[in-house]
């Protein structure tokens, strides 16, 4: 039997799912005593090059309240051509197309290795992708120029049949008509006025006036082929127009009083964009819900109001990018990255997704945390207790990419007095409908099952199946989610209490003896994660602007587990002449004079030259042939950083600094302050750099944790 680590990894590879617990406590009461809720990290569209989509539609359970999709966990009667739903136990007839199935002739969705299957839906018209640019014009000229270039670049990356639209805004909002010859036209809206979608559509002339039907004239082919086509046009048709338009974009001309910021009408611009798209969808007879995804690229030294706008991206699954200027590689490359393509030449993006979660009877779904919005679909598997966005079994994810990740939280509802038979398994099915970037409608179905275990008799099993990384991220998401609505200290206290309770539950210790405290391997890293989480910008708003906090939290709520962990606990590599680069403790003791450090916090890549290295560099040794190895040493972290930069979205801020440099603060603020001005001489080691802070160090934190965990008082 593979270790749990391997099991977890395998599951993640295959299904994009990691659970906090891989063996589930079989009763509600026990589950609550586990402290960390039963939950999973789900990456719905995890890239699966090895998973070609099947070209037919899924088979659904016929029970109206269930409609689960046929999966490997279902029991199948090949002779009777029946299958039993593993969620509701409804027996279903296979559709005629499955007439030929047998034990040896199984459809993919019944094979155990296809716990995740992707179906392509053939029905229905495929609507083209729509990209609506909403561009701020309250910019400095060079900034605007850079933005212009980026936008034009992006145009060249779009598929030619994609529809594009352009809205610009400053004090006013302009919706540009793209199909006109000669004079360029745009519709302008007052930036201070909130209009309803209907009003907007009226004003854009999108609603057709009620034309009385001429009896003599049978319905003519629509006189305006598609009205909205004035604003949304296939890019191949209006490439030139749009390029010209962008070329002539002017800065917002309205005077800005000294000391004031230009008035921007971002909200109205968005509102109008939505109105415009809504209209399009109506025309296209698409589903009622709007699958608009809003990306925000905010680049300014100023506050841009991301805090206020965050829900636009957070709820629609859009991207949020924050930079100092559009004229930076951070923005330019990030923006370019948006349009990167997968191995099939398709954009790594998907639209208008809905995620549906189905559970077996012992479980209910309590909520989700991620770039989604509730669709408010009640059902038998919806828990009354909410964790994150709950009260529903379906969520809308307007835009997502292969890395978009949600935290899904469950509640075990099985009563203690209704034991689950030995070997019983609980099952969960994730059904994700979405529009693929090739414009296909697809459904990805992932069905997973885990063993139940009695927490009293089989605690060891449960303990061993704990995924502390996933648990840390899931708890962190809960914490960040709480932080949106609660006071920071309350959230910290809650996190601390959870940690202490967990330690009390799973630690091995003698009461009132902190030194006796031990945690098993599967829990050993968890407290450290919590330590760094407490210090992270997701929970600490001090020193961060509201916009920055929003930005950080936005990304934390949508990145996959690995990235999330990096965010919680940055990675530190050390480069020296003593050997190959090695990961080192995120600790002030790692800051040594003869080392080069590379820190990845997800948002920043920091290269830090130790004191000696920096002196050597200043002396120019790297340029001397005889010190070529020094040159290589200097180059190594740069290369590694490049690698990270290439893979990372959004582009991290790249910081190159050295001992004593002002930007060294990026590093110093992250490392565990094991050496501070307080204990500089008390601590045994003379190496490392003291951090001038009153923050507690990991050691102090752990000491306290142990003390509290063993204390019977709490």
């Amino acid at each position: 039997m593979a270790t749990y680590l391997e099991f977890i990894q395998q599951n993640e590879e295959r299904d994009g799912v990691r659970f906090s617990w891989n063996v589930w406590p079989s009763s509600r009461l026990e589950a609550t005593r586990m402290v960390v809720p039963l939950a999973c990290i789900l990456t719905p569209l995890k890239e699966r090059p090895d998973l070609p989509p099947v070209q037919y539609e899924p088979v659904l359970c016929s029970r109206p309240t269930c409609k689960a999709i046929l999966n490997p966990l279902c029991q199948v009667d090949y002779r009777a051509k029946l299958w039993a739903c593993n969620f509701c136990f409804q027996r279903n007839q296979f559709p005629p197309a499955y007439a030929g199935i047998s034990e040896v002739n199984q459809p993919a969705e019944l094979m155990p290795q296809f716990s995740t299957v992707e179906y392509v839906i053939q029905r229905g018209a495929q609507s083209p992708l729509i990209f609506l640019y909403v561009v701020d014009t309250c910019l400095e000229e060079d900034d605007l120029q850079a933005l212009r270039e980026s936008l034009q670049m992006s145009l060249s990356l779009l598929p030619p049949d994609a529809l594009v639209g352009l809205i610009t805004f400053g004090r006013m909002v302009q919706v540009h008509e793209l199909s006109c010859e000669g004079i360029s036209k745009s519709y302008v809206f007052r930036g201070t006025k909130d209009l309803t979608a209907k009003q907007i559509q009226d004003m854009l002339g999108l609603t057709k006036p009620a034309v009385p039907v001429h009896p003599a004239r049978p319905a003519q082919p629509q006189e305006h082929p598609s009205i909205s086509s004035r604003f949304l046009q296939p890019i191949h048709k209006i490439d030139m127009n749009l390029t010209d338009l962008l070329g002539e974009l002017q800065r917002d001309p309205w005077p800005v009083p000294q000391g004031k910021r230009p008035l921007r009408s971002t909200g109205v611009a968005l509102s109008i964009a939505v109105g415009l798209l809504e209209h399009y969808e109506m025309l296209a007879n698409r589903a009622a819900a709007n699958g608009h995804c809003v990306d925000i690229y905010a680049c300014a030294l100023d506050q841009t109001g991301l805090l206020e706008m965050k829900c636009c991206t957070n709820l629609t699954g859009g991207h949020m990018v924050m930079g100092d200027s559009f004229n930076t590689s951070l923005f330019k490359q990030t923006f370019q990255r948006i349009f990167s393509k997968d191995f099939n030449g398709n954009f790594r993006m998907a639209f208008g997704a809905t995620l549906e979660v189905k559970t077996s009877r012992e479980l209910k779904v309590a909520g989700a945390i991620g770039p989604c919005v509730s669709l408010n679909v009640k059902g038998p598997c919806v828990s009354e207790n909410e964790l994150g966005v709950g009260g529903t079994s379906q969520w809308k994810i307007c835009g997502l990419d292969p890395t978009s990740t949600l935290g899904i939280y469950f509640e075990v509802v099985n009563q203690h007095n209704a034991p689950i038979p030995q070997g019983g398994r609980g099952a969960i099915q994730f059904v994700t409908h979405y529009q693929h970037s090739s414009t296909q409608r697809r459904i990805r179905v992932t069905t997973i099952a885990r063993n139940w275990a009695d927490a009293q008799s089989q605690l060891k099993h449960i303990e061993a199946a704990f995924d502390q990384e996933a648990a840390a991220v899931l708890m962190a998401r809960l914490g960040v989610f709480r932080a949106e609505s609660e006071e920071g200290p309350d959230v910290l206290r809650w996190l601390d209490r959870q940690l202490i309770r967990l330690c009390q539950k799973f630690g091995q210790y003698t009461k009132e003896d902190p030194s006796s405290f031990r945690l098993s391997d599967s829990f050993s890293l968890y407290p450290q994660f919590m330590f760094h989480l407490r210090r992270s910008p997701f929970l600490q708003v001090f020193n961060n602007s509201p916009d920055e906090s929003s930005y950080y939290r936005h990304h934390f709520a949508r990145q996959d587990l690995t990235q999330s962990l990096i965010m919680i606990q940055p990675i530190l590599y050390s480069y020296s002449f003593h050997g190959p680069p090695e990961p080192v403790l995120l600790d002030s003791s790692s800051i040594l004079a003869d080392r080069i450090l590379l820190m990845d916090t997800f948002f920043q890549i920091v290269i830090y030259l130790g004191e000696t290295i920096a002196q050597w560099q200043k002396a120019g040794y790297q340029d001397m042939p005889e010190y070529e190895n020094f040159k290589h040493l200097l180059q190594a972290p740069l290369d590694d950083a490049q690698e990270i930069l290439h893979a990372r979205f959004p582009m991290p801020r790249y910081v190159s600094t050295e001992h004593g440099g002002s930007q060294a603060r990026f590093l110093l603020s992250k490392v565990n302050p094991s050496q501070t001005h307080n204990n500089l001489y008390a601590w045994g080691q003379e190496t490392g750099a003291p951090i001038l802070t009153d923050d507690v160090s990991l050691q102090v934190f752990m000491d306290h944790l142990k003390k509290l965990a063993v204390s019977s008082a709490c």
């Binding site: 302008v188 002539e248 001309p253 005077p255």
Partner: protein, 1097 residues
């Protein structure tokens, strides 16, 4: 008619002669020693009577003066003679009418001088003044009534028409009392006079008579007419003379003579002129020296009149028994011609207080010597009653018609700009009046006393100057503000909005591109024109290029703004659909310098017609368009003007949306006023905002149907803008008119963001204002824009006693932003006399100005009162004015006589024109929009415009020799004056007709229309073919020059006699009874007389 009855016809007849003689004699006697003069008058009276009823007063005055100081009278005549001469000269050139006119002017001056004495000798005077007038009128009336009794007598003598016409014309007075008498008088006077006085007279008459009688039949007729035009009255005489002699009782003739006396002097020179025509004239003139000349001229006029008769005979003949003779009643043509002749040649020097300027119809130069030119300010009276009691008694409105930015002829310098430096213009500390020539410097020049409020102010050190021995500053003549009536001050920053010097103004062109506008070709035409027109934006002084920036908007249900920034390769259109909450979508690139953005603008104007060529949008908005323009100016922080080109009733869902509420059934009901009121208050609110921003709106309307001009014109009206209306616009027919108006409107110099304040010396104050502007308080006239065509009429009332010695002062101060963006103050000062005698008031009135005021008053009245009430009020006021004169100034005479003050003898005819104008008495073909349009047009008209608007000019084209290049003398606006063998032009400032008589010579038709016969002339033609012959050139030249005189292009309409269009044309023959029920001049005069009589009794 009743009047007639009252007066025993027979007795008058019998008596008349004696009366005449007596009168004449007495009057003469009373007057100057010169008997000749009187006689001549008598002669005049005959012809002139109607006109010169006014003269009587003058005469009466004259007599006294003359009586007392014969010398003076003699002098007077001399002076007059000068005028007279001119007049005569004119007369000769033109028809005789001028002669009569001349007399009048002459009178007034004299009269005023002499007045005092006159009063003392009422008896004597009466004969002169009243008698003639009364005689004339009575004669007419008599003629009418008499028809029964008298008819028999007259017919024989005067060819039927002869008697009545002559009588009528002769008699200013009504027949009532001495209908018959009057008759005789009118006629008799001539006879008697001639006899009594100079032998010359008789000859004249005889000549005319013969001529007249002969002429009708003879071909010579035409020539006569030209002569007669002016003479008309005379004609009547001519006719009647024979019969009249018998009737003539009276003094009436004498009165006329008086008038003539005045003019007499001029006589001599003219004679030579006349000579060519009729030797007889000359002789007469010669015969009558100084004094006689006057009379002669009169004679002359009568005679010509006779000639006219000749021409008219046709129509008049049948009528004679029933009607008064139109020739006998005061003729506007005559008055105008006389004034032209008498006062057109010498500059009007403004130095003397209280001078009555020449009529607006007279071409004259002005020399500013301390009072504002009449081009800037005209008053209803230049002599103001000292007390409000007097003013109330007279009922003569005291009003000034002010045109602060009036254009001046090139010979007259525009106002000097004075810069008082940082401290700004020097003003009175208390009343804030500006430094002007009337300020009194005292204490050696260290202080000055305000001429308005008497406050003593210190003279700032930098402004100090010593006084000369007369108490005048030594530098008075170096400083415009101390020596001129009109000048400008440079304003300091204190006079600017927000304490910031203004930026140059902007013009925004806002073009309706809905279906109608596109289909009619308007948009294409307009865009094409704008391309070149933009090079002619107003510029100041010698500026290289205009400082005015331009912007463009098109609209239908939504608005399209254009970015025409010079850096763009193509213009950009920005659509604003949120018409409910209008805003300006762009700033930079909307208002641009024409030269810099030339290419982009041209491209835009090329594309606009194309872009909307296929539009199917028929709905439009209106208020949001104005709002948008105003907001754009606000955003650009400048004042400016919007040029709106609009086609239809704004029914699209938006603020200011209108309903079609045109309802002709409301006419003549109490609700009629609603047709003139705006439908919604939204436009007033909008206008207020516009005014605050200095946003003037000019509206060009191109309606195919009702557009509710009353509502749409609210904003233009309140912002000092103009409205132009082109009903059923079609490019082929209306393009010239529209383009011409547009060019003028765009090019004209205009001031922005103006505030006008009229200050007066203690005793009177400005209480009411009429015109295109907005007022947020009771004293400041706020004008978002003001151009050289806009007039503000201001009414004054007493609030204290005035002083004869110090007179009354007006100071009109206009603070405005010039089209180059300079803030300035334009000051106009005017000093008026004050009087304690009503006669002085009546002698210094100006009827044209009075009519301007009364029309505006009435046109405003229809907003709040039933039209009938308004009409009655006008009539009553007019009657009161005339009755007061009759009661207090005219010499006692029979109640049956209508006696009009010389200065106001045209009041009835003009007032009648106002009363029957489209606004106050609409014909069936006049639309609600037309009425509203005219109503608001008149509101800002100046005196010259109202004059011709209400009494159109009718010019015979084929009567004078082709070689004669001067403008032909006008004839009276009556069908009777049209001869079917001639062609006439009629214009009223808005319309221009070419009427072609049915029996016009073929040659004329050929040379004018290029077709061989009358029947081939296209009715309704709007352009005359360009033909290379004298007549064609002359007529086209004349049309061009008429158009050049008017602020709006008059579209020509060719009307053929007996054609359908003739109805339209006849509408403008204002002396006739109108189809809509408007009274004929004669009838109205009778009515007026009745009213007066009622007041007197």
């Amino acid at each position: 008619m009743n009047l007639n009855q009252s007066a025993p016809p027979v007795p008058p007849f019998g008596q008349p002669q004696p009366a005449y003689l007596g009168h004449h004699q007495s009057s003469y006697g009373g007057q100057p020693g010169s008997t000749t003069a009187p006689t001549s008058y008598g002669a005049y009276n005959g012809p002139v009577p109607g006109y010169q009823q006014t003269p009587p007063p003058g005469v009466s005055r004259a007599p006294p003066s003359s009586g007392a100081p014969p010398a003076s009278t003699a002098q007077g005549p001399c002076g007059q003679t000068a005028y007279g001469q001119f007049g005569q000269g004119d007369v000769q050139n033109g028809p005789s009418s001028t002669v009569q006119m001349q007399r009048l002017p002459g009178y007034q001056p004299f009269g005023s001088a002499i007045l005092a004495p006159v009063v003392s000798q009422p008896a004597v005077l009466q004969p002169y003044g009243p008698p003639p007038t009364s005689a004339q009128v009575t004669a007419q009336l008599a003629g009418m009534q008499i028809s029964g009794a008298v008819a028999p007598a007259s017919p024989p003598s005067g060819l039927g028409y002869g008697p009545p016409t002559s009588l009528a014309s002769a008699s200013g007075s009504f027949p009532n009392s001495g209908l018959y008498g009057s008759y005789p008088q009118g006629q008799a006077p001539p006879l008697g006079q001639p006899q009594g006085h100079p032998g010359a007279q008789p000859p004249q008459r005889s000549v005319p008579l013969q001529a007249s009688s002969f002429t009708p039949p003879a071909s010579g007729g035409p020539r006569m007419p030209s002569m007669t035009g002016p003479l008309l009255p005379g004609q009547s005489f001519g006719g009647p003379p024979v019969s009249q002699p018998n009737h003539v009782s009276s003094p009436a003739p004498q009165v006329l003579p008086a008038g003539t006396q005045m003019t007499g002097p001029p006589g001599p020179p003219p004679p030579p002129m006349h000579s060519s025509q009729q030797p007889g004239y000359q002789l007469q003139q010669n015969g009558s020296y100084g004094p006689t000349r006057g009379p002669q001229s009169n004679y002359g006029s009568p005679y010509p009149g006779a000639a006219a008769f000749g021409s008219q005979p046709g129509p008049p003949q049948p009528l004679p028994p029933k009607r008064l003779d139109p020739d006998a009643i005061p003729s506007p043509i005559q008055v105008i011609e006389d004034d032209r002749n008498n006062r057109g040649s010498e500059p009007f020097v403004t130095g003397v207080r209280g001078q009555v300027p020449p009529l607006v119809t007279t071409d004259f130069l002005v020399k500013d010597q301390g009072n504002a030119s009449p081009r800037y300010i005209r008053c209803t009276s230049y002599n103001i009653p000292c007390t409000s009691d007097m003013a109330k008694q007279a009922q003569v409105p005291l009003a000034a018609v002010i045109k602060p930015l009036a254009r001046l002829p090139p010979e007259e310098a525009s106002p000097y700009v004075v810069d008082h430096g940082e401290s700004g213009p020097l003003r009175c500390n208390r009343c804030k009046a500006y430094m002007c020539p009337f300020m009194q410097f005292v204490e050696g020049g260290r202080r000055f006393q305000c001429c308005f409020c008497s406050c003593i102010n210190d003279v700032p050190p930098q402004y100090f100057q010593h006084l000369d021995h007369t108490g005048k500053r030594v530098d008075a003549y170096d400083r415009p503000e101390l020596s001129l009536g009109s000048y400008e001050f440079l304003a300091t920053v204190d006079y600017c909005k927000n304490n910031k010097f203004p930026s140059p103004p902007a013009f925004i062109f806002m073009i309706d591109v809905s279906y109608n506008a596109i289909r009619s070709g308007l948009v294409r035409l307009l865009c094409e024109e704008l391309k070149s027109l933009l090079d002619f934006l107003p510029r100041e002084g010698g500026a290289e290029e205009s400082a005015v920036r331009v912007g463009f908007v098109t609209y239908n249900k939504v608005l399209h703004f254009y970015n025409v920034k010079s850096s763009l390769a193509q213009p950009q259109m920005m659509v604003v659909s949120d018409v409910g909450d209008m805003f300006v979508p762009l700033l930079d690139g909307f208002l641009v310098n024409v030269n810099e953005s030339q290419a982009v603008i041209t491209s835009l104007l090329d594309q606009i017609p194309e872009m909307f060529a296929d539009t199917r949008e028929t709905e439009t908005v209106f208020a949001p368009v104005i709002q948008a323009g105003m907001e754009a100016l606000k955003a650009a922080e400048c004042a400016g003007k919007l040029f709106l080109f609009h086609t239809s009733l704004p029914i699209a869902e938006a603020p200011g949306k209108l309903k079609n509420r045109d309802d002709r059934k409301l006419i003549n009901t109490d609700k009629e006023k609603t047709l003139f009121q705006p439908q919604t208050g939204a436009y007033q609110t909008l206008a207020k905002e516009c005014v605050a921003q200095g946003c003037c709106v000019d509206l060009f309307l191109f309606p195919n149907q009702y557009v509710d001009v009353a509502t749409l014109s609210v904003v233009p009206q309140l912002t000092g803008g103009s409205v132009y209306k082109y009903a059923c616009f079609q490019v082929e027919n209306d393009q010239e008119r529209f383009l011409s108006d547009l060019r003028r409107d765009v090019q004209k110099v205009v001031g922005f963001d103006a505030v006008m304040r009229v200050r007066t010396s203690t005793g009177i104050r400005a209480v009411d204002f009429f015109g295109a502007f907005y007022m947020s308080n009771t004293t400041d006239v706020e004008l978002a824009g003001l151009d050289g065509d806009k007039t503000v009429t201001v009414e004054f009332r007493h609030d204290d006693r005035l002083n004869e010695e110090s007179g009354a002062l007006l100071q009109c101060a206009l603070l405005y932003t010039s089209c180059a963006g300079q803030r300035r103050l334009r000051i106009h000062n005017l000093a008026l006399n004050c009087c304690t005698q009503l006669a002085d008031l009546y002698r210094n009135c100006e009827t044209d100005t009075l009519i301007n005021y009364m029309a505006k008053f009435a046109y405003r009245g229809v907003l709040n009162s039933p039209v009938k009430t308004v009409r009655d009020t006008l009539i009553t006021q007019c009657a009161q004015i005339l009755a007061c004169y009759r009661k207090n100034c005219a010499s006692p005479s029979s109640a049956g006589q209508l006696i009009l003050p010389e200065c106001m003898k045209l009041l009835p005819v003009y007032l009648n024109c106002v009363l029957k104008s489209d606004v106050l008495q609409p014909g069936a073909e006049v639309t609600t929009d037309d009425r509203a349009y005219v109503r608001q047009l008149v509101t800002s008209m100046d005196v010259a415009e109202t004059n011709v608007f209400f009494y159109p000019r009718l010019l015979p084209l084929t009567k004078s020799p082709i070689e004669n290049t001067t403008e032909p003398p006008a004839v009276r606006a009556s069908e009777e004056r049209l001869s079917n063998g001639d062609i006439y032009l009629l214009e009223n400032g808005l319309n221009l007709f070419l009427w072609v008589g049915a029996s016009v010579q073929q040659g004329v038709v050929q040379s004018l229309f290029g077709v061989s016969s009358f029947s081939q002339i296209t009715s309704g033609l709007s352009v005359l073919p360009v033909l290379d012959n004298l007549l064609s050139k002359k007529v086209r030249g004349l049309i061009d020059s008429l158009r050049a005189q008017r602020s709006r292009y008059m579209k020509l309409i060719v009307v053929k006699q007996e054609d359908k269009l003739e109805t339209l044309f006849k509408h403008f023959l204002v002396e006739d009874k109108s189809l809509s029920g408007g009274a004929s001049y004669v009838d109205f005069l009778c009515h007026m007389h009745k009213e007066i009589r009622q007041l007197l009794s």
